[in-house]
């Protein structure tokens, strides 16, 4: 066998691999085209000292078997300035100025709002809690993985335009993130005081976060 044919075969394989790679990148580019939006951040810290402790027995799994009880948005009072009641974490929440991102840190992550104009923290906490409840990241996997999903909530609480805008590099994590939002099904209607018809949200899912991150 001539060495030339081996080289030709190698070239052919590299070429086909690059085509596959290029096709994949094109697919991602298409899904990245999105309008400006509100950014909501969700992190899933493994050892977050919350009062309702996440079961830590299945460390290798990283997922609580039973969905954590959803009690975060209980104080559903109408005053907009109320921060969600999460005692050990409130110091991490920056003051909600007009420009700086707002952050809500939940059992499964943080939630931050970037555009001004939507100040109904209780609503965001509700959204976050509902998504958190439905988020089941794949078991196993090493290192921190983060994928951002964008979606839209209409004034009556319906979900639309769920799109993966920043893949984590792990297909399974990306899929579970998208699924978390889709399976949330439907949110409560947007607050009546909010004038814009719908709310764009970018949701950042973090699996296996680095400690202190």
């Amino acid at each position: 066998m001539r060495p030339g044919s081996l080289a030709a075969s190698f070239g052919l394989h590299v070429f086909m691999g690059l085509i596959l790679f290029w096709v994949g990148i094109q697919g991602q580019k298409i899904s990245k085209a999105l309008p400006e939006a509100t950014v909501v951040k969700l992190v899933r810290p493994k050892a977050l000292s919350l009062p309702k402790a996440v079961p830590t027995k299945e460390k290798n799994v990283g997922v609580p078997k039973t969905a954590p009880p959803l009690e975060i948005p209980k104080p559903k009072v109408e005053n907009n300035k109320s921060e969600p009641k999460k005692e050990p974490l409130t110091e991490k929440i920056p003051r909600a100025t007009e420009q700086a991102p707002k952050e809500l840190i939940g059992q499964a992550g943080t939630l931050s709002v970037q555009t001004s104009g939507f100040e109904y923290d209780f609503y965001l906490a509700l959204v976050q809690a509902k998504i958190e409840q439905n988020f089941r990241p794949p078991p196993g996997g090493r290192g921190q993985q983060m994928s951002t999903v964008a979606f839209r909530i209409t004034s009556n609480g319906m979900i639309g335009d769920v799109k993966l805008i920043q893949p984590s590099g792990n297909l399974l994590v990306d899929q579970s993130a998208e699924r978390a939002i889709r399976s949330a099904g439907r949110f409560p209607p947007l607050p009546a005081q909010y004038e814009k018809g719908e709310l764009e949200i970018h949701f950042e899912f973090v699996v296996n976060p680095k400690k202190g991150g």
Binding site: L6, S9, H13, F21, V23, G24, L171
Partner: protein
């Protein structure tokens, strides 16, 4: 999930180490089998032109030297290579049996068989790839499915969202096995058929050669008989 390239690579990246090992073996098999395919196709293309040239030779005007110069022009053809060997070994030496058609025919047949078997080299690897590729892929898939079911056990639920990614990940191995096997199978059939035809062609050439050498030596003997008296 659509089977586009990005997800294809991602599926490979998230696969288990054993599955990656199998995928690596399949990749090497694909690399080698395509190298063999390209090699044989190049050989085939060269021989095709040479065969056309050899077929144009006029046996009625057979003369060892003219045939050998013709063979040198189209030296890629199997028959040409074999005849050049015969010419070098027997006819050019000019011994007493230099124009013994039986000896020439036997030597030619042996040389031609040598050439053909040299062209057949590595061809069995294609057959191996075509039959072992799917099995190897299947092994990777079965392994992946075992892992997927273990995951289901850990999760404690078996809805499609839990099962499907693991199975998709596992099926990549079968897909790659088929990617290896199908070209290898097609190429093996194509190339081995071509080589069989080439062997037939050299046999025809051998018949022509034996007949021509017979006539040539008879003519020479007649000429010699005419000269002597």
């Amino acid at each position: 999930m659509t089977p586009n390239g990005g997800s294809f690579w991602e599926l490979i990246l998230v696969a288990s180490p054993f599955a990656k090992f199998i995928l690596a073996i399949l990749g090497v098999m694909s690399l080698l089998s395509w190298a063999i395919i390209i090699d044989k196709l190049v050989l085939m293309a060269r021989i095709k032109g040479a065969n056309r040239g050899m077929a144009a030779y006029r046996w009625k005007q057979f003369e060892p030297r003219s045939l050998s110069s013709e063979c040198r022009r189209f030296s890629q053809a199997f028959a040409a290579k074999a005849y050049l060997h015969v010419h070098r070994e027997i006819i050019d030496r000019g011994g007493a049996d230099a124009h013994d058609s039986e000896l020439v025919g036997r030597e030619f047949a042996r040389a031609a068989a040598n050439e053909i078997s040299r062209a057949e080299r590595f061809l069995p690897f294609l057959a191996t790839c075509s039959s072992a590729g799917p099995f190897l892929g299947l092994l990777g898939t079965v392994w992946g499915i075992i892992v997927a079911f273990q995951r289901i056990g850990i999760w404690g639920s078996a809805n499609i969202a839990v099962v499907a990614p693991g199975i998709a990940e596992a099926l990549v191995a079968t897909a790659l096995g088929l990617f290896v096997a199908i070209p290898a199978l097609v190429a093996y059939n194509f190339i081995s058929t071509w080589l069989r035809k080439e062997a037939e062609r050299t046999e025809t050439f051998a018949d022509d050669l034996v007949f021509a050498v017979d006539r040539y030596s008879a003519r020479r003997a007649a000429e010699a008989a005419r000269v002597i008296p």
